[in-house]
Chain length 69, copies 6
């Protein structure tokens, strides 16, 4: 299956915490590839983003999916 | 500033593509840390997720933010 | 009220599971209409998406809202 | 591949509109299954949601992914 | 219509920028009410969040919907 | 730190509810600024959005982050 989500990283589950309906999974990423971010053009200009620049990538936990083969 | 988003990775911008209002930024991640994912408890059981298991992390590009110091 | 969310499906609640702060609702969809997806142009090319093609639509549970009249 | 996203629907692409970096895909869903929604427990009580109730499912286009085999 | 999204603010559109498929809308919020955020319990502890504390609320533009009566 | 998320509002935490893994935080917003929303161009036309129009901004709780200095 190919999927439109542009970001996929392999890793190993380090910890699972289960609530009644929600749960968190911590994955130690072993082979990161390039991360694609879609943001407003305005944000690029406001932050002065340039190719080659060092940045931080932020992702809210509720947006992260887990897949297994 | 500390932020509630549990996932943060440092990297270098490899490519910026600008549309009129949207834009994509590709970031090569250099020092990945552990990724936290919040999913339903049901997904954990349906996929049989276990600590130590090899998995794939998937993140839709529209959910990825960029931060600079 | 009209809302900018492009996807709306009528259905019947089959199951509600309540945690302390989170809860899941399962809805059996009865009259699906067309689903709109906004993705990167790159994903369209990477997957070779074409009009008329059979695909799968994937939506993380945390992104699904419920509305009642 | 199994994925933690709880919602998956098969369908046919009716229309693709491409911008410079963003694009929209309209998918006519042919075999809908049950949709899982994770919301706050407070929302369930504020809306008075009950099993068996008729509701509307709302999903913002930017949250919808496309997958192909 | 009542909706499970817990955050709703009235405002006036100040600017609309249209791309080919994406667009941004800037809304000047006039009567803000309380904002509800669902995050991991871990984030609450990592940030030391307490009732009465002054904080910043952050929301990615792609997550913001617009509704009209 | 500057961040690509276009929406940021200062406020005071009124209530924290903790589940086992998820939690909700209610923030009373004190100095709202303009909210940026990225939606499909189609939604703008379907709702007939115009600069100067009175609208409602809707945000699902799972999309709201909290930051502290």
């Amino acid at each position: 299956m190919k999927i439109s989500a542009r970001n996929s990283m392999e890793g190993v589950i380090k910890e699972i915490k289960k609530g009644e309906v929600a749960a968190t999974v911590k994955v130690e990423v072993t082979k990161p590839s390039t991360i694609t971010s879609m943001i407003t053009r305005e944000a690029i200009e406001a932050l002065g983003l340039k190719e080659g620049q060092k940045v931080k990538v932020l992702i809210k936990s509720t947006e992260v999916m887990i897949a297994v083969d």
